[in-house]
Assembly symmetry: C2
Homo-oligomer: 476 residues x 2
């Protein structure tokens, strides 16, 4: 490894390796056998060929902000860190795309594109630090997925190194349908099919105008109705975020975001596009919120007010640490039309169990992020919270939704895959994975359930406790 990456590209000292023991989901920990930090595609390929030759597992890692333990190191394996591959290779304005190395921070793509009037649309809340390669691995989303889609909708080309150490080019700058669209399958494959070493992403025109709206309701139901009404009216905001009373309380205490008092729910609605269209939509959305029972709707009058509205929303997760010693962050999806019912059933679950649940989520997408609060000093409280958290996922599945909206499967939800997919589908996934990685060295035990992780009964998680320490989850 030292021959390939140089001495400064290989970390073997235990204290150095321990820095990498988890990603953003800190209750899964494992110190990597060795950390390597290649700087070129050729080095990545050589590292992986060496792994393949000796059947040593490797785990790719970007910035380590993932929330499903997708970058959990293997104790006997290589942690392949892309942080030294952070060149923006090209901004191609005419073809509206950028070519970047995998370690480039998400926001740095936008920084490089903005002088030309463009930006990179997928915006996970961790975008200041999270890497494009990590976004590709997890198919990351963000508040603006509603209008602009996930990472997969913005990747045009990939250079990847397969688990055999081969360099393969998929797609390119021009759109085109030919061969198998392995870009779609690679995006979101969580490192199990290899490592992306170069990514060609679409750039999006910066909108002429952006307006952020805050609307307050006396019930969650009324807020949900407003969401349905907006979408049904054919308005497509770039974001529709929702917070309930508990989340509002936490955000207010943490960052004094000045949300309307007495709200049982607020919506943060963002509109962007040509100025005339945005103005027309603003009027429309304001009226629809009023019809649904909003007692106050205000549009941010300037950049500062807009930033404050978003600060409340974006700080909500960390802020919950102020009102609860510990909490579990869940990530699930329901069809938008089931939002009202599922939120009602979450409230009922909370009432029955006596466990508080705060809701902060991408309402337009039906992507829930319930925060299940508990006191970790109280015996058994974590287990009870975990049961509620699991029951919420079951609700998502029951309503035709999914066990993860944007955080991925990783280690954390691998054992829950059988609740979503039947044996035939899981076998198909496994066939697919093994086609790329017959020896199982590429990020093993992630994404798909394994007997070792999940025990005999499929779908039942054993061993680990999903207790996120408070303050851990600023990335959401």
């Amino acid at each position: 490894m030292r021959e390939i990456c140089g001495d400064d590209g290989v970390l073997t000292d235990p204290s150095q390796r321990r820095v990498y023991e988890s990603d953003g989901l800190t209750y899964h920990r494992s110190t990597p056998g060795v950390v390597v930090m290649p700087t070129t595609t050729e080095q990545v390929a050589a590292v992986i060929r060496l792994c393949a030759e000796h059947r040593v597992p490797f785990v790719p890692r970007g910035a380590g902000t993932g929330l499903s333990a997708g970058a959990l190191p293997h104790a006997e394996g290589v942690l392949l860190v892309t942080s030294r591959m952070r060149r923006v290779v090209e901004i191609d304005v005419e073809n509206e795309c950028a070519v970047v190395e995998p370690g480039v921070a998400n926001l740095d793509v936008t920084r490089a594109a903005s002088p030309h009037g463009y930006y990179y649309a997928p915006d996970p809340s961790s975008q200041q630090v999270c890497s494009v390669g990590g976004n590709v691995a997890e198919n990351s989303g963000g508040a603006h997925c509603l209008k602009y889609g996930f990472t997969v909708n913005h990747v045009r080309g990939l250079q990847i190194v397969t688990p055999a150490g081969e360099i393969v080019e998929l797609g390119g700058k021009a759109p085109g349908a030919h061969g198998y669209d392995l870009i779609g399958a690679f995006v979101g494959s969580e490192g199990t099919l290899g490592v992306a070493t170069r990514v060609t992403v679409s750039l999006t025109r910066s909108p002429e105008k952006t307006v952020t709206l805050l609307s307050a309701f006396t019930s969650l139901d009324a807020g949900g109705e407003a969401v349905s009404a907006i979408i049904s009216a054919g308005v497509l905001p770039s974001a529709i975020e929702m917070m309930d009373a508990l989340a509002i309380e936490a955000a207010e205490r943490a960052v004094a975001c000045d949300y309307p008092e007495g709200a049982a729910a607020v919506l943060v609605v963002e509109l962007d596009g040509p100025a005339e269209e945005v103005d027309a939509q603003l009027e429309r959305v304001t009226a629809l919120c009023a019809d649904a029972g909003s007692f106050e709707t205000r549009a941010a009058s300037g950049a500062e007010e807009r930033a404050l509205i978003w600060k409340g929303r974006k700080s909500a997760f960390a802020a919950v640490g102020r009102i609860s010693p510990a909490y579990i962050v869940q990530d699930g999806v329901v069809p938008r039309t089931s939002l009202g019912e599922v939120l009602g059933r979450i409230a009922a679950l909370s009432a029955e169990s006596g466990i508080r649940v705060a809701n902060v989520f991408h309402a337009g997408d039906g992507n829930l992020h319930p925060l299940v609060l508990f006191d970790d000093s109280e015996p058994g409280a974590g287990e009870r919270a975990e049961r509620v958290s699991g029951a919420i996922l079951d609700l998502c599945i029951e309503h035709g939704g999914s066990i993860t909206g944007e955080h991925g499967v990783g280690v954390d939800k691998a054992c829950k895959m059988p609740r979503m997919f039947d044996d035939a589908a899981l076998e198909t996934f496994d066939l697919f994975r093994r086609a790329f990685d017959p020896d199982g060295i590429a990020n093993p035990e992630k994404l798909l359930p394994t007997p070792r992780l999940c025990g005999e009964r499929p779908g039942v998680r054993t061993g680990v406790h999903p207790l996120v320490e408070s303050g851990e989850a600023e990335q959401f």
Copy 2:
């Protein structure tokens, strides 16, 4: 087979089987061993299990309008026709999606959705007859891909039967990132991974206003400049189509579409969206066309004029039959910024060889459809035309484009795949294919090059002549 599909679901009579000997690319022909027409997913699965058990190849077929011989039957195999599976299972307005069987005609999805104010966006020119299942197999495009994307961008869920005869569900109504996104890989896989038996597609809101614009130029270059200027200005038309003088002449003779006289090129630009936005864009596009040197730009004043503009464009392929006894239709992609240069080099190729080339294409996407004209009664003319046609594809590849924009690879371009993909990529494709289909029974010899088809030298086609008879290509 009769036990599974009933007597009326199995065709063995040679004259009946011969009806299916080709798809829309009629110079590849092969009479299927047997034709089966299942009516349910379970029947499809049983048919494929029977094929798997006896290692008999099967070829899925939708409406047979494909243009790459992707549905070319296997003489010793089963042709699995989905035309009896044509139920629109559900229009789910609230979740903005439709669930359909694979044999449903593309336009029938729009017909079912339109009473609710929605339509199905992907619009191949064959949309009156082509099937959704076939669209999934070929990842079909159309004139409006520029704004709305290809089939893959509209498929949310698939029920498929794998080459082992297993029924697998991929995705669903809710968006969500979990597991491998095999939907992306399945869409465009041309039947080599199995058969889609149920498709969940996104529905798109019908726009408030649509305007179609016709702009005429005295040179191809000027038209190309207008395309670049429109895109650079941040206007995103739903379609930008371009035709050159030869194509205009043919269309004019065929359908009297009343395009401006003396045009070396026309652009058909369609704008849709909220009325105010469309009006603003119309003004902008008209000005940009004038700046680029258009000598006449007119907006269709009503539905009738709009239909006539499109009639000219859509009839152009068939119409070319009026000015040439035979022609080859090519399908390639170049980055939009290379359009001008590639068109210039096509003109030079035409001048050098003395072979006329008409251009009708999706300019906004850089998706070329050159028509290479020749007289099939003249010895050697077909071969010379084929060389020009092949050279045009080489130009596309040289400029970072692709060998097919929307017609797929099928049999027709399988041998050209090595010109686009290196060995590592082709091996990866092959690994992927064999993961699903280890015995090679699912639409064999399509999509990927095989020694039998392509001979010793990779990338060199042998044996067949791509001579489309005139009048064959109304589907474009």
